[in-house]
Amino acid sequence: MRKGIRKHDETKPTPIRERVWWIAIAPSLWAIHFLACYLSAAIWCEKFSSERGNTTLHGLVALYSLIAIVGILCVAWVSYQTLRRGNHAVPYNFDDPAERTHFLSFTAFLLSVLSAIATIFTILAFVLVGGCD
């Protein structure tokens, strides 16, 4: 049996990749992109599309998409770099801070890939459907 365990120290700063919300950043970027695209399209189609066409809407969506994709790729890159550090094999199931960091990075990386795919799906809807109707 192990004797005791480290007590939590509130005064020590926690590195960003050791926080649980790190894994939620990429899907949150997808969610913000999704909502921005939907709200922009809904407002544009109701208020402006009949007079001004859809060019501005497409421009806005392109801008949102660029920001979202770059953001998601950044999360994926940082997570992947953390993942490759050290010599850890999946499934990251040891009682070790490094294993926990690798697990979080691995999950964050996978979620980044999923978020990127889902974001591209949203973009494809604009590419394929084009306008409001």
Binding site: R6, A41, Y92
Partner: protein
């Protein structure tokens, strides 16, 4: 085995003793409340199942007049509502309340009284809603309650019963969600880092967060619809600027994540069962976490696929269609992980596993038809036909019912120490599987040949007769399966010996309990260093039983558990959790009275109940929360000394307030969404004139005055907290009094902005929306002021001081959200009309 004559063990047992006799119902421990919750939810499930059989009898023959259209409408509405609100969501919370602490080696969840309160709310609300059916006044508008049918054409009390009764239960669901989130994040055993927690806990964490963001939009929708029905505020009345589509948006922002809210916890049970019967750790732990979190997020981007036929712009439909396809990716990933685990393991035959496999196969069929209806052109054809009924039952029965039945077989020995019969289980399995497929597979065909949903009968010679008769036969075979299951669960097992400890040879911590189990949850809280500690940590059970880990004793006779850090589960606090009380029952009873009497517009009784509820909750908080401990820290074992009182972000109470306010903010944002929704659908918003009268907005500059004073009040709250910490009670009291005055000025300014210009909320949807935002904000300011009065009283009564300041710290957190609410309301109603 533990020697119970050991004085430490005896003290521990005494502290966690279950009340006896009639006091049994004052229990708040997770084992009792979880069990009541599960049995009650299962009873509602059986009630919903009987309703389904009645429907199938009615539809067995064409032109059947056994039921009238009105009766049939009530029955299908109640079937859907009961299954979703009284079974699917509560059962997941019930099972989680029962299992989660045991899985994490915790003695209880952090707020046991909140769980008990949630349970009593659920029971009272559920009986109220179901009871309406026996008086012929049940809701008739479908489980989605679409207006204008439920606002203009159904003037009876049915929709009010649905709106108020289920809102009451939704609040209980949110309470359980708060409990579960804090439980997973803060009550894990030392060492159980994020990469080691049981997959069940990951799923429940995701689902509880989903509840937090999915239920509030529905609560906001309920509020708007009840305001329309009770006070004629025209949110959904097209003639006065309202729009029924707003309800559809609010309902489905809840309604689609709801599908995953009920699916993921059931799959979580699968994630616990599969490794046990494959005798190997789950393959792809990280991938499953990806699937759970990914599904949780993506499920919020699907709600419009329930509204494809409402005439939305093509691009909106395209966006949601794409997201509906994308969600198949994470959903599929976890199923591949389960299959991979079964392939690499040495599988042993069991009824649990049969139900798991049936569940996966059925869900996959439902998922595939789901991908079909996510494609808009196909949905145009299938919408509102029996194809959808077939699809949704494949998803819900495959994704929820079969895994839950598997969970029943798996966890029955955990709860009772006895085992269900494998022979009866196999019989029940085949009856359920065959009955289900015979009942629901033909519905795809019935739908494709054109039979609409929600019709109480159909003409002969339409080709619907044979498939409907087959479906009815299947439904009754399925019913027989449930009777066998029921018999197996409730038959007397007195002569049956107790099962051996850890019957299935599982690897997770919930199976560490002795048989029969003791009420303490776990003898001592262990250090965890693996994902399957019972498999991978040597001598663990013996060390737990010998009390070699944390909190093996209850020297002060109090119920205690450990609070640990979020990521690495490092010990932070020895948390004293409250014991049995009837306060939670009475609080729920009076809260229920407010909702139930309001349904019938018996305002006097509702008011009395509101006052009683307020007083009961106040007594509960005063006596049971944030009490100053008799010792500042204590030795919890293994030489570790931990504080007994913590305030701020390290405290579970702070987290509960934060999480609750996230849900509250979501409901508020849903109301704000309503304002902007009306802006998009109207050419001119706010309108200048309507129905021969000018449409007036809030009077300048009062909303902005409210924002200014509200910010000042918030600043004073921050100062009051600081003065309290600097041991300056006089300044703290003065600061709190000033804040209360400022809060009243803020509320008064908001009220005056509408009242002074004679805003009539029944005039136009614009007026109604502005008044709803003001009403929401004023109520929240009132709650904020009451909270400060409470802190003042605590300080004066010496139940709060400069070191023990959890009350004022949590109230400050409330005020952070409140100042945001005040600012958004003020800016939206005062500034947006100028810039729009």
């Amino acid at each position: 085995m533990t020697n119970v004559r050991d004085p430490k063990a005896e003290r521990l047992l005494k502290a966690w003793e279950t009340p006896k006799g009639w006091r049994y119902w004052s229990a708040v421990n997770n084992s009792e409340v979880g069990l009541w919750y599960t049995l009650t939810a299962f009873a509602f499930f059986l009630f919903g199942g009987v309703l389904a059989l009645i429907m199938r009898v009615q539809l067995a023959f064409p032109e059947n007049d056994w039921l009238t259209a009105q009766q049939y409408n009530q029955i299908f509405t109640m079937h859907g509502s009961v299954m979703m609100f009284l079974f699917a969501v509560p059962i997941l919370e019930a099972i989680s309340i029962m299992l989660l602490p045991e899985m994490m080696g915790a003695r209880d969840l952090p707020f046991p009284r909140l769980s008990a309160y949630g349970y009593w709310c659920f029971l009272i609300g559920g009986v109220f809603v179901c009871g309406s059916l026996f008086f012929g006044v049940g809701p008739r508008g479908g489980w989605f309650m679409y207006p204008p049918m439920t606002t203009e054409y159904q003037t009876g009390v049915g929709p009010d019963i649905w709106l108020l009764g289920l809102s009451f239960i939704e609040i209980a669901s949110i309470a359980a969600a708060v409990e579960l989130i804090v439980g997973v994040l803060k009550c894990r055993p030392p060492g159980m880092r994020l990469n080691l927690i049981p997959l069940y806990a990951w799923y429940i964490l995701v689902v509880a967060v989903m509840i937090l963001f999915a239920f509030p939009p529905l609560i906001a929708g309920d509020l708007l619809m009840e305001l329309e029905r009770a006070l004629d505020w025209p949110f959904f009345d097209v003639e006065r600027g309202g729009d029924p589509m707003l309800w559809q948006h609010l309902f489905w922002i809840f309604g689609h994540p709801e599908v995953y809210i009920v699916f993921l916890p059931s799959i979580a049970l699968v994630a616990m069962i599969v490794p046990t019967f494959a005798k190997t750790p789950m393959a792809g732990y990280g991938w499953i976490v990806l699937a759970a979190v990914g599904t949780g997020f993506l499920s919020f981007g699907l709600w419009v696929h329930h509204m494809f036929t409402t005439g939305l712009p093509g691009i909106s439909i395209g966006i949601f269609s794409a997201a509906s396809e994308a969600v198949a990716i994470p959903t599929g990933v976890q199923i591949f992980c389960f299959i991979a685990t079964l392939l690499i393991g040495r599988v042993t035959k069991s009824v649990c596993l049969l139900f798991v496999l049936a569940g996966l196969a059925t869900f996959i069929i439902g998922g595939l038809t789901g991908v079909m209806v996510a494609i808009a052109p196909f949905d145009y054809q299938a919408h509102d036909t029996y194809f959808i009924v077939g699809h949704l039952h494949y998803v819900l029965v495959g994704g929820t019912i079969f895994p839950i039945v598997a969970g029943f077989y798996y966890y029955y020995p955990f709860v009772t120490g006895k085992q269900l019969s494998e022979r009866l289980g196999t019989l029940a399995f085949w009856l359920l599987l065959i009955g289900f497929n015979v009942a629901f597979f033909p519905m795809h065909y019935t739908g494709l040949i054109g039979m609409p949903r929600r019709v109480y009968t159909y003409p002969a010679e339409m080709g619907f007769e044979i498939p409907n008769m087959i479906s009815t036969l299947g439904a009754f075979i399925m019913g027989c399966g449930f009777i066998v299951l029921l018999w197996d669960v409730f038959r007397s097992k007195k002569k049956q010996p107790y099962v051996k400890r850890n019957l299935w040879n599982a690897g997770t911590l919930e199976w560490s309990g002795q048989v029969p189990d003791k009420p303490w949850g776990i003898r001592s809280i262990p250090i965890i260093s693996t994902r399957y500690p019972l498999w991978q940590q040597e001598n663990l059970l013996a060390d737990i039983d010998a009390g070699k880990f944390y909190l093996p004793d209850a020297e002060e006779g109090l119920r205690e558990t450990l609070v640990t850090s979020t990521v690495d589960a490092e010990p932070m606090q020895c948390l004293r959790v409250p014991g049995p009380t009837f306060l939670t029952f009475f609080a729920a009873l009076f809260t229920g009275g407010v909702f139930i009497f309001s349904t019938y517009h018996w305002w006097m009784l509702a008011g009395i109940c509101a006052v009683c509820s307020f007083v009961t909750i106040l007594v509960w908080l005063w006596t049971g929360t944030a009490n100053i401990p008799e010792i500042e820290s204590k030795d919890v074992g293994l030489g570790l000394r931990l504080p007994t009182y913590v305030s701020g972000p390290g405290a579970v109470g702070w987290w509960a307030m934060f999480i609750t306010m996230l849900g509250d903010m979501t409901a508020f944002i849903s109301l704000v969404f309503g304002y902007f929704f009306f802006w998009t659908v109207h050419q001119e918003f706010p309108p200048i004139e309507f129905d021969g009268r000018p449409v007036v907005g809030p009077a300048d500059p009062w909303p902005l005055v409210a924002v200014g004073v509200g910010v000042l009040a918030w600043g004073m709250v921050l100062l009051s907290r600081r003065w309290n910490r600097k041991t300056n009670p006089i300044l703290f009291i003065a600061g709190s009094v000033v804040t209360i005055v400022l809060a009243m000025v803020t509320a008064g300014a908001l009220f005056w902005s509408a009242y002074s210009v004679g805003m009539d909320p029944t005039h136009h949807a614009y007026s109604a929306t502005v008044c709803a935002l003001i009403l929401w904000t004023v109520l929240h300011i009132a709650v904020g002021a009451v909270m400060l009065c409470y802190c003042l009283a605590r300080r004066l009564a010496k139940r709060m001081d400069h070191l023990h300041d959890a009350d004022i710290v949590n109230v400050t957190l409330y005020w952070h959200f409140l100042v945001l609410t005040i600012s958004i309301t003020g800016l939206v109603i005062a500034v947006f009309p100028r810039v729009a």
